[in-house]
Structure formats: C-alpha cells, structure tokens
C-alpha cells in the first residue's frame, strides 16, 4: 500500500522557506515542496512576480505564515481565481492557527508603522516549541488531501518532534547561563525566541519598516543600552548593517548576525540547523562578551 502511494506526491507551496522546511519534515517523500519567497530576502518586503503565479497554479496545497506576514499571497490567489487557495479555503493552510501570538495588537494586519505587525508579531517560528502547533496544522492539511497516508504523516511528524525536543533541551542548556540578558535587535523579529530562551529585548533600532531611525531615537537607545548593560545587538542577516555597526562602535556592544529565516545564512539549511545556528551564534557572542 505504501508503494502505491509513494509515487503519488502532492505539490505543496509554502510562502516562506521556514514553512517549507517544516512541511518537508512532516510530509517527507509524500510531498514536493516549493517556496515562493526566495530564502535570502525579507518576506515582509517581498513583491510577487509573474513567475510565482505559475508556481502557484500547479499547487495542491498552499501553506502560509499568516498574521499579516505574507499578505501578498492573497494577491496571487485572487489573480488565479482559485477560491480554495484563499484564506479559509479547502486547499489553504494558515500555519499560525493554534500558535499563541505575542504582541497582539488588533484586527488590522497593517499598523501605522506601515509594518505588517498589526495583528501580532508574526515571527513565531523562531520559538522551536511552536513547531508542535505548526506541524500539527500542516499535517492536518496534508492528511486532508491524502487520507490514506495518515499513518506515514503522523509518524514523520512524531519523529521530527522527537528530534526537535531533544535539541530544545540542548539549546536551552546552551543559553541558560544568559538568562535575562539585555539585548537590542535591529528589527522586532525576536519576541518568540526571547520568550523561549528567557532573554530580555530592551529596544530596537528600526522602529518603522524601511525608514531610517531618527537621531533622537538612536541617542535614547544608546542611553538605554548603557543603562541596562546590553550585551549584544541582534542583526538579521539581510538587514543593512551600517547603523548597527555604528551603535556597536559607540557602545562597545558586539554585533551578532542571526538568521531570521531558513536560508538567510548558508548554515541555516533547514529548520533545525536554523535554530542551531541562531542559538550557537548568540551563545558564542555572549560568552566572549562576558569575558
């Protein structure tokens, strides 16, 4: 029976590479995963192209990040005139279902900052414990299309989660000495990460998406950093570095480049190595900073 279904693969299109990595962890050989937003770009700034339409039209299932992070997928699905791909449709999975959302704001996905953090902070995959909920909803979506493959999917998911939970224990041990450390980030992508590893994010360099921070904001940030004894500046791999480097030079706080999505640095090939890289890089920087 497995042999008969092994050749029947469904095409799952994920909006970002993190979701794609989780989909292939759950689906294994039964799914062919494609990603729309290229790995090294900022998906919040992504503008879809004509070629993405054809990728989407071949899909059996679409998995989105939700929470206003990838609103552009709606533009594409509307153009395709396929209502089952739109939010709530039969072939659409919103990976944020069941995830406890941090920094909830309201019902409008776009805020006054022009930033898609209006519903809540959308960077929930950076908390490895949320992978439970995300893989569950993905598994549900795939099983809905391939009911006969249910056992395989569930087994894949359990295997993945077993590995993940072992690693979570190791990661928490790595960052345990730095519990409560004050950190500054370039962009507000790290609340879920901070919650899992007990870190204290005291400020952000970029307050409005794509707009350079004002001098007054940078001065007050420097003052806050000195006052709270910030130990590192978290820099996303694809964000411009010059302001962070200036801040680092002025305050003596080291800069650490982290990967907010799979593929944004070469070491982050999939979800597990993404978290490995982030935890390792942060632990190394904080270890040298405390010496």
């Amino acid at each position: 029976m497995h042999a008969a279904f092994a050749s029947a693969r469904i095409v799952v299109v994920a909006t970002t590479s993190d979701i794609a990595s989780l989909v292939s962890a759950v689906g294994g050989d039964l799914v062919q995963v494609k990603t729309i937003a290229p790995p090294a770009t900022d998906p919040e700034e992504f503008e879809p192209r004509a070629s993405d339409l054809s990728t989407l039209s071949d899909a059996d299932l679409i998995v989105r990040v939700g929470l206003g992070y990838d609103l552009w997928i709606d533009k594409l699905t509307i153009q395709l005139h396929r209502p089952e791909f739109q939010a709530g449709g039969r072939r659409s999975v919103d990976a944020s279902t069941g995830v406890p959302v941090l920094e909830v704001r309201g019902r409008n996905p776009v805020t006054e900052d022009g930033h898609a953090h209006g519903l809540g902070n959308p960077h929930y995959w950076l908390d490895p414990a949320n992978a439970d909920a995300v893989t569950a909803i993905i598994a549900e979506g795939i099983i809905g299309l391939m009911p006969a493959a249910r056992d395989t999917i569930v087994a894949n998911r359990n295997r993945f989660l077993a590995t993940l939970h072992e690693r979570i224990v190791a990661w928490m041990q790595q960052l345990a000495p730095y519990r409560g450390t004050a950190l500054v980030a370039y962009h507000n992508s790290w609340p879920y990460f901070a919650r899992r590893f007990h870190l204290n994010l005291i400020g952000f360099i970029e307050t409005k998406e794509g707009v350079a921070p004002s001098v007054a904001h940078l001065s007050s940030l420097i003052a806050v950093m000195r006052q709270s004894g910030a130990r590192a500046i978290l820099q996303e791999a694809y964000e411009p570095k010059n302001l962070s480097e200036m801040l680092s030079a002025r305050t003596g706080v080291p800069l650490v480049v982290l990967a907010p999505t799979v593929g944004s640095v070469p070491e982050a090939r999939d979800y597990l190595s993404l978290m490995d890289f982030n935890v390792g890089a942060l632990a190394r920087t904080l270890a040298t900073a405390s010496q």
Binding site: P100, G106, L201
Partner: protein
Amino acid sequence: MLLAAPFAASALFVAIHANFGLHVLRRGIVFADLALAQMSALGATVAFAAGHAPTSAAGIAYTFLFAAIGAALLTASRVIPKEVQPEAYIGIIYVVATATTIVVVDRSPQGAEHVKQILVGSILAVSASDLPKFAVLYAFIGAIHWLVRRPLLAASEAVHSKTGRSLLWDFVFYSSFSVVVTSSVATAGVLLVFCFLIIPAIIGSLFTRRITYVLGIGWLGGVAASAVGLAASFEFELPTGAAMALAFTLMLVIGAVLRGLIFAPAGGRRICIRIFLRAASAMTLMTVLLSAIWLMIMPRADQPMLDLLQSATGIGPATFLAVQERAVYVEALKDAGYRRSQESQLTTLERQSRWRGDGLSETEVRRIGSFQQTFNEMARGDDFVVKSLSGRARERERWYVGLPLLITSLLGLLILLPSKWRADPARSRTVCLRFLRAFLHVADFVRRLRGEKTEPAGDAMIRRSINGGTVSAGPEALTGGCQKTTYGCPDP
C-alpha cells in the same frame, strides 16, 4: 555626541563639492551630478551584489570604475548630434543607471533597502575614523584644482563657445569629479550630494562673482544648512538625509532674501523691505483665506489651520460641543488613553515574564493576547467617537472661527491690493462678485455631493448612545434594531 561626526563630514563634503558645483553651474550641466552620482551608486550596487563591502578595496574599485564610465560618457557628450539636447542625454544616463541599479540589486537580498539607502544616504553612520580619510583625499584634489584653476575655469566657461574647448581639461574635471562623487555618495546618498554640489555654489554666486568669495560664502551657507538640518532631524525626529536636503533649500531661500536686502539700490532698501513685507503678508492672508474657505466647505475634512490653532491656543473641538457631547468627548479621549495604557502594561508584563520568574504558560499568553486585542478595539472605538464628535464640533466652529477669519483675511487682502486696482472700484467689484459666486457654486455642489442634509452615520451613533439607545425619528438615519452597547451600535 552623535551628530558631531556627521556634521564634520558634511563640512568636508560641502567644502569640496562647492568647488565642483561652481564648475557645474558654469558649464550648465546641473543634472550631470545626479547622473554621475547614480553611476557611482550603480558601481557600489554591483560591488554589493558581488559580495564586497562598499568600503573594501574591491567595493571602491567597482564604484570608481562605474563613475569613470559615467565620466567618459559625459565627456563624450560633445560628440552627440545637436538634435539631442545635452540635458536629455544626461537624463537618459541617469535613468539607465537607476534602472540598472534596481535590476542588479533585485537578485541580492537587501535589495530595496540598499536602493533607498543610496538615495537618502546614511550620514549618521559616519564614524570619526572615516573623517581623516575624507580630509586627506579632498585636500589632495583641492590642491590639484587650485594648481590648475585657470585652465580649468577657462575650459568650464568655454563650454558654451565653439572655440577654446579642451578635451584634456574636460577629462581632468570629469575624472576628479567622479573621484569626489564616488567617495561621498556611499556615505551621503545621491540627494545630499546633489545638495552639497549645487546649493552652496548658487548661494555664493548670488552675492559675488569672485571665485574665492563664492566658495567661502557657499561653504559658510552649506555648513549652516548642515547644522540646521541635523538639529531639525534631532528635534523633530526626521530622517537625517532628507531633513538636511530641506535645510539646504531653506538656506537658499534665506540667501535670496538677504541678497535682495543687501544689494538694493541706495534708498531702495526701504522699498525692498516694504515690498517683501507686503508679499509675505499677502501670502499669509491668502493661506488663511484658503484655509477658511476649505473649513467652510468641508468642515469634517483635515483642517491643518484649526489644528495649528488648537495647539497654539487650546481652542479645540471641545469648546464647540454642547455640554452633554463634551462630556462624551472628554470621556472617550480619557478612555482611549486608558485602554492603550492597559494594553501596553500587558505588553510590558509579557516581555518581562520572558526572563523573570517561571514564565507564562501558553494559555496565559493566549489570554493576554485576547485582552490586548480587546483593549485595542475599545481604544479604536473611542477614537471613532472622538473623531465623529470633532467633526460635529468643526461644523459649528466654521461659523464662529471660519467665517470671521474669512472676512478678516478678505479685508486684509483688499487693503493690500495694489493701488491701481483700488483706483478702479468697478473692476474690483466685478472680480469680487465673480469670486463669491464661484465660491457659492462650489460650496453648494460639494454640499449636495456629500448629502449634508442627511445626518452622518457617526453622529447617529453618538446620538443614540447619548439618548440611551433609543432610535429617534431622525431622517434617513439608521433603522433596524441593535443591541445597545457603551459605544453605540456597530456600523450598518
């Protein structure tokens, strides 16, 4: 201080760019600077896409290579057929450079951010260690320009004549120009480099023709503008590069006014001042008049003049509401602030729980999220009440504030009218009547468009909440039962 290094860098940039700006103005090729800056930006972008840091040796090499290509293209402008205007040629170079930049950067991750940064620059990120490098480079180029100043000036002036055009000096000019622009565009951005180049040179030229004084006055003006721009960006939380560009323009306006005052013919100074004051007051009165007319026509739209009045004197919508409405208004304002503070308290609580104590369970996080959403929605409901009531107050305010302002500004303008108009009352009268008729037509049209006879939906809601939920017999107002809540009924 955070602004010290950017200020010093600006002073250096203005010093060297003013010199080139002078030549650019003499040659009449203002947009060549933009084209050249954009070619440098293209070079920086190609370096960036190839994985080199902009300040590394490879980065600088790429930037200079493309700037040199741009310089060669500009030098070659003499051989373009005369049907193609020089400015068109330069504009095309600029557009091609910009489009190529976007195509190149499209493939690399930091795409849009990089293009924006190249335009606006990041002068804030300049560090004190970069300053000596700039100083040395510009001193070197400045020394060369000083040594060959006569042939260079002759070549610049000769651009418009048929004889005396020299390929060698053109090339010297354009290549030193590209070196300077290469060095500054990565730090200051295309916008600011344009300002540094053109505006100090113009300010200087307004006052004298002697080169040294032009450069001196231009440098002083540029330094003052940089200081004002940086201070404004600090005080008003503006993006630095854009604020500085605006400050440069302001300095140019001030320079023009000063020139008018200083160089007036003997005894004519008083006349000049009088003309200036008259023009300034006419402009102010015209602005007040137009704002008053806008207020009369569309009281519920944004009213910048009234907002200014409110921040200056505290006379706001609350003054023009009935007692009961005012209570609701004040209550809604207070409540909005209270809900937002409750929401931010929860955010702080959640943030601190991450590392203090045992942390929150998932259920608790969900509950907090649900409360945050509720508080936000309540605050937005309050905002809606405030906005509706403000609209109603503005409708009243237009008679008490708008109409007097309208009449006073009209009278003021009539007084300021040139005497030849006053001498011909018939003509003034026909003009005024025509204006009044046109105004009444427009007002009537707008009123019909908005159906002002019908009560706006927001007011119906407020009225119902004040009257305790009973739907009064208003005109085409909202019908249908609805549950009474503190915030009135949901939108129909």
